[in-house]
């Protein structure tokens, strides 16, 4: 059956449009007609036709080529046949230049029209099949919202599948922006704990005492301001998973407390006397090299071994560049909808630029870069120019005058302050600009004693 293929015949002469429509309907196509360019555009805005037969001369109003140009603005894939009784080389060139698939001089041989329609339908069937297969392939590359075809990532997916229903603690290591939380969520959602809560805590974002209260909860009156009993994250996550992000940043005291919880699998609320069983699965993550921290004596080795029962190391994006085209396609698909922009793809040159970039901020940086490019883009294709900001990014290997006599910590502090100033105190924007996540930025603010604005 051909009825799902829709054709619009546009001609100001009723005899012409009705007879062609009737002839095409005998093939089973769904055929509508329009008596002018304007009517055609109105109809096309409501229905995406597969083929448009548009007469070149349609007085008064807009002619066939103008109709086609306007149509292509909102239906770039439309197949257009420009039909004319008065063929000239100029109109033929202009029709083809503006994107007509065919230029037909009426009257045409029925064989010619029939063969053309059959060819277009065959092509569209192939396009649909291609789209279906690509979606199928993309599902193969997708695991719980994580997109990758890298063998290393697929090993991680396998490991995640294998450990989902275990209780062992997991330590996820990877640079900022590699998707540590996504892996943690995947472990949670793919397993038998998925119906229970997944509770995330950014250990770097909170001061020590606050973090203690966040994790273990507190009893009423246990400290100034504790006006009511509060359940901690360990309690809330009972039966589910607790995700301790930036675990490398916790204080020695908290390291000790956490070790005790992991060993004894029970804890007390601050100021409390009731013992509470720890029933959450602990998934910890860090962008630091904890092994080095252990060797340097800043992180307890016994806690490290407790956490590191199952170790997952997520490779940085620069070590799995084969994922960049997949990720670009995925993000464009999502961001184009979110931003309401008609962007569909990146040009070959722009993709090469993205493939060559170092991506110190990893997948998150790539996503941010695409969002910035899409917001400023005008056409359907992101060109190299749309990524100019990458070339001027401090992360690129661009010559940059760095004062060689300033302590590193001061440089970092200055960068943090500058980013905050530029973002007018907006933490998210400052974190994006610095290529770190918010929890890392909070940790820096704490480290440099920068007060948080409300």
């Amino acid at each position: 059956m051909n009825s799902h293929w829709k054709i619009l015949v546009v001609d100001d002469e009723i005899a012409m449009r009705e007879s062609l429509a009737a002839w095409l309907r005998e093939d089973g196509y769904t055929v509508d007609t329009a008596a002018s360019g304007r009517e055609a555009l109105e109809r096309a805005r409501q229905t995406a036709y597969d083929i448009y037969f548009i007469d070149l001369k349609m007085p008064p109003g807009i002619n066939g080529i103008e109709t086609m140009i306007e149509l292509r603005r909102f239906q770039p894939d439309a197949t257009v046949v420009v039909v004319t009784a008065y063929a000239t080389v100029d109109t033929a060139i202009s029709a083809m230049k503006e994107g007509a698939q065919e230029y037909m001089v009426k009257p045409c041989n029925p064989e010619e029209v029939s063969a053309f329609v059959a060819r277009v339908i065959k092509l569209k069937n192939l396009q649909r099949e291609n789209l279906y297969l690509r979606k199928k392939l993309s599902r193969q590359y997708t695991f719980q919202d994580i997109i990758s075809k890298s063998p290393r990532m697929h090993e991680i997916f396998e490991l995640v599948r294998a450990i989902t229903s275990q209780r062992s603690t997991v330590l996820i290591q990877g640079e900022s922006g590699t998707g540590k939380e996504l892996i943690a969520r995947a472990i949670h959602h793919a397993g038998d704990r998925s119906a229970r809560p997944f509770v995330g805590v950014s250990c770097a974002a909170l001061a020590e005492t606050l973090l203690e209260s966040e994790l273990f909860g507190h009893e009423k009156g246990s400290f100034t301001g504790a006006i009511a009993r509060k359940r901690g994250k360990f309690e809330v996550a009972a039966g589910g998973s607790i995700f301790l992000d930036e675990i490398g940043d916790i204080s020695p005291k908290l390291q000790m407390d956490l070790l005790r919880v992991l060993q004894e699998r029970k804890f007390f609320r601050l100021g409390g006397t009731d013992e509470i069983a720890m029933e959450a699965r602990v998934i910890a993550a860090t962008n630091r090299n904890l092994q080095e921290a252990v060797e340097a004596g800043t992180f307890r080795d016994d806690l490290f071994y407790r956490l590191n029962v199952i170790n997952i190391r997520i490779p940085p994006l620069r070590e799995r560049r084969e994922d960049i085209p997949l990720l670009v396609e995925h993000f464009i698909g999502r961001l184009a909808i979110e931003t309401g922009k008609p962007v569909r793809e990146v040009s070959r040159g722009a993709l090469k630029l993205l493939m060559d970039h170092e991506w110190p901020g990893n997948v998150r940086e790539l996503e941010n870069a695409l969002e910035r490019a899409i917001v400023t883009a005008h056409g359907e294709v992101l060109e190299v120019d749309n990524f100019d900001f990458l070339a001027s990014s401090p992360h690129r290997h661009q010559p940059w005058e760095v004062p060689g006599d300033v302590p590193l910590s001061e440089l970092e502090q200055r960068a943090v302050m500058a980013a905050l100033e530029r973002s007018d105190g907006n933490i998210k924007a400052a974190a994006i600009a610095l290529g770190v996540d918010r929890s890392t930025l909070y940790a820096k603010l704490k480290k440099y004693g920068v007060p948080r604005r409300n």
């Binding site: 005899a15 002839w23 009426k106 029209v113």
Partner: protein
């Protein structure tokens, strides 16, 4: 079910008779021959020396008696529509009227010797094809089925004067839905 045959200008008896016998057999219907009508002037495209099929079909429909379930018009003149250089015939999809031109079905039109048997075979196939459209049948992808689209006489000659199983069932269903009594010929059963 009553099918009216509407000649436009003179149609020779062997050809008209072939249509009549075939339609009566295939659709198990009564046939009434109507008085020949002149082709409408408005249908003539002088530049192309052809008649516009849509206009001729409209005239046939207007002249069709009320008690006829279908009208099959026939002409010796060559037919066309504005977009196409010619058509063998035209029909109202799921409608009342169908039209057939004998001009291109004749081997003489293509510079060949007359061949009555071949002509009658083509008439049977196109009669079934155009009437099939009036019962809602679309073009069929089976090249041997009478409902296959033919864009030249070679295509017509490659078809049978019968429907494929699928189209035959659809035709029966449609006739039953319309409440028109019909018997499926044994050759297609």
């Amino acid at each position: 079910m009553l099918l009216c045959l509407q000649p436009f200008e003179l149609i020779a008896e062997p050809e008209l008779g072939a249509m009549e016998r075939f339609a009566a057999h295939r659709f198990a219907c009564g046939i009434r021959r109507l008085e020949a009508l002149p082709l409408p002037d408005v249908a003539l495209d002088r530049r192309r020396d052809q008649f516009d099929a849509t206009e001729v079909l409209r005239t046939a429909l207007a002249a069709c008696p009320d008690d006829a379930a279908r009208v099959l018009a026939v002409t010796e003149r060559d037919l066309c529509i504005p977009m196409l250089t010619f058509v063998f015939g035209q029909a109202q999809l799921d409608g009342k009227a169908a039209l057939l031109s004998l001009a291109r079905l004749r081997p003489e039109f293509h510079g060949l010797a007359p061949n009555q048997e071949l002509l009658r075979a083509r008439i049977r196939k196109e009669t079934l094809h155009e009437l099939g459209h009036t019962f809602g049948l679309f073009h069929c992808t089976d090249a041997g089925c009478a409902m296959a689209l033919s864009v030249n006489v070679a295509g017509i000659d490659a078809k049978q004067d019968a429907l494929c199983d699928d189209c035959a069932v659809r035709l029966e269903d449609r006739i039953a839905t319309l409440g028109l009594r019909s018997v499926r010929p044994r050759s297609e059963a």
